[in-house]
Symmetry: C2
Subunit: 425 residues, 2 copies
């Protein structure tokens, strides 16, 4: 218990310092913020040697504890990767400043002027796994949107994150900005996560970035507001009217382009009337790419024993690997019902030539993004033209779909007059 | 425990039925929804006798258990009040339909069309106290915004709420719409509140409407998304440059117009340089209206013993009564610091003639609404021209300030193309 109390005091103290920094950040001009972002980018490149040394320590610890090559690859930094991270800061500097945008404005009959204006959230917590680039990305996006950030990375990247945060804080200081705008939260054990999730009134929002386990832990344990991100049990439905060549290309791109990301397809549903024709072609295309198919009885009857029998769990699994669940459905309505039962509200796609089928699918499927005749891989802040992405929200409150700078803001109503008072009614 | 499990099963079953109704509601045209709203209004008036009989039962129970006259007044219905409730439904029918609005839309370089479209949340839970009109208001706003609603009113209004919900459900049936779009949640004990707050995946958002105790209970115990509403520890700051006559009128209106509502002023802060001149005038105006002043030492020295000494708690109290905390501050910065420490982020006002003071106050105070030279009473969905209000959000996520129809919606990205796939980068 003493440990948890200690973590609470520690995190609350960090959050209060963030709050003080946030009050100053809210007043910065775009020019001030962009100058700091460019200075941060330059400083990271200049400090490459010290960052790589810290990173090497994390990599060594990871290897010693038997971390997989894939995870080591996500952890590892190089000069080129530090350059890319710095470029991303410069990219954020080039994006429009969301702060101060007048979202709505009008004049009341009594002459009172009302403006709804975009302002920073205040203090943003980011809880994430593995990748050190999230440290810099998160810091850059929060600075540009006028928010102070509390960065709680994973213990496995502790030395890298500490080195990165140190460089960023020194740079803020050098620019005359409050260093506490960017703070790391110690990652020795989970108690600091718990403390961050309960810093009500001190932290305005927590964004988890990572696997389903992390996100569920955050969502279920937070008393501060949370934006749920990223879990994508993504379906591609091939309608009876689909252009089958188009369907094959969309399917391949959706599944194998980058199987480990949240917009990758995890389940294929095929209309029964075209299943005998389409499934053998789809199986060949996907199996040639190394995809393991987990099919229902119909699929196995059509394609054969190369298809692993699908279990109940397969329909709810976000594989993030070269696996795909495959099912035959009797109708578009059956596909929609399957998706409503098993989808995670991330991205759902239909391939169809029938305008009415497209309309019914898009109105009845309940997801952040619904694709008609395009790859699911397009659900991405960069592809949507946002210039950056802090995550993909799968919740309905506040932000849904790819989140960038505007999604890190809130609004306030500025109400101005000359002494107007309100009548009794 | 069996009781809680029973409540969980009961509420989850209701929520699943809401979800099925929501899928149908999302497809309704504005004409269908408006026709149902008018039919509901007519049906309420036609069923007045049965509603009043049920309400009389609640009032009798309330009187027997010693409920205050003020609360009985909030509970009690009359023919005129039922008429006003029905009129509010007709008013909602006249508002624009938020569903289907294209919030943003553009074409990617590869020809893919992206549209961000307003869609219903799905299932909305409303937890509220006392007043039966919230039952109908909430049902009407949710229907118009395409959401199914779970109405968890208070036990004190159980018979009235049951009668109202029964009329509304019968009307939906008569219009060919799913009756389960509007469902009451039994209010026998708190277990149904707990169940509603944990119906994750079944309920998309819960909105509490009521006193600070209810709202804190909901916010602290919910695992479903919540929109925090309504607690207003509202400040009026009188700057050294204020037009004092204007300040007196704004102060009186902000405090005494309707002391029981959340936008009423609860603390007056006065710049030291004008305190000796302004406070005696303010005290007279307010005391003539029956306001009890709770002042700091400076205020008591200036105004005298008619001012009750303010305790530490006074600065954090939302009185909702004819009481006002009064303090003298050394500067605008001190006023801002006091408000940042004690405010609830609802509404904060400055009275000033100095353009720089107005700018600094509005940029540094962190609230849903910031008033310059107008009464705090204007923070209201009706006054802002929204035509309706489901509550005033004091949180930063999703909605901030008065909430109406658009705040009961989310968005989805509709992405359409002709077989486009994404490159490797």
């Amino acid at each position: 218990m003493t440990e948890v109390v200690g973590a609470t005091e520690l995190v609350n103290d960090l959050a209060k310092r963030s709050g003080q920094a946030a009050a100053a950040l809210a007043l910065l001009s775009r020019a001030d913020k962009d100058a700091a972002l460019h200075a941060m980018a330059d400083a990271l490149v200049a400090a490459s040697a010290q960052i790589l040394a810290a990173n090497a320590e994390d990599v060594r610890r990871g290897r010693e504890s038997g971390t997989s090559d894939a995870l080591i690859d996500r952890l590892q930094l190089t000069d080129a990767r530090i350059g890319a991270i710095a470029d991303q800061l410069r990219n954020v500097a080039g994006l429009p400043d969301p702060i101060g945008e007048v979202v709505r404005g009008y004049t009341m009959p009594n002459g009172v002027r009302v403006q709804q204006i975009r302002v920073p959230m205040g203090v943003v917590g980011i809880i994430y796994e593995g990748r050190p680039n999230v440290t810099v990305d998160g810091a850059g996006l929060c600075l540009k949107s006028g928010n102070a950030v509390l960065l709680r990375g994973s213990a496995s990247a502790a030395a890298s994150n500490a080195a990165l945060v140190s460089v960023l804080r020194d740079t803020l200081n050098g620019c005359g900005l409050p260093a506490d705008a960017i703070q790391g939260v110690p990652a020795d054990d989970r108690s600091t996560v718990t403390a961050l999730l309960h810093a009500r009134g001190l932290v305005d929002v927590v964004i988890p970035r990572g696997g389903a386990g992390l996100i569920q832990h955050v969502v279920n344990n937070a008393s501060v507001p949370v934006i749920e991100t990223g879990v994508g049990n993504v379906h591609v439905y091939v309608d009876e009217s689909a252009d089958q060549q188009m369907a094959l290309e969309i399917l391949r791109n959706s599944k194998v382009r980058r199987p480990s990301v949240c917009n990758a397809a995890e389940t294929l549903l095929v209309h029964r009337s075209v299943s005998a024709e389409f499934l053998p072609k789809a199986a060949k295309v996907l199996q040639d790419e190394g995809v393991v198919l987990h099919g229902d009885d119909d699929t196995r009857r059509i394609v054969g024993d190369s298809v692993v029998p699908a279990t109940d769990e397969d329909w709810d699994t976000e594989y993030l690997s070269l696996d795909l669940a495959v099912g035959v459905v009797d109708s578009l309505d059956a596909a929609v019902a399957h998706i409503r039962a098993h989808g995670t509200g991330h991205t759902e796609a239909i391939v169809t030539s029938n305008i009415d089928a497209a309309r019914r699918f898009t109105r009845q499927v309940d997801a952040a993004a619904v694709m008609v005749n395009v790859s699911t891989a397009f659900t991405d802040g960069g592809e949507f033209g946002f210039g950056a992405e802090i995550g993909i929200s799968t919740q309905k409150l506040h932000a849904r779909g790819p989140m960038a700078l505007p999604e890190l803001t809130t609004t306030t109503y500025l109400v101005q007059g000359e002494g107007q008072i309100r009548g009794v009614s």
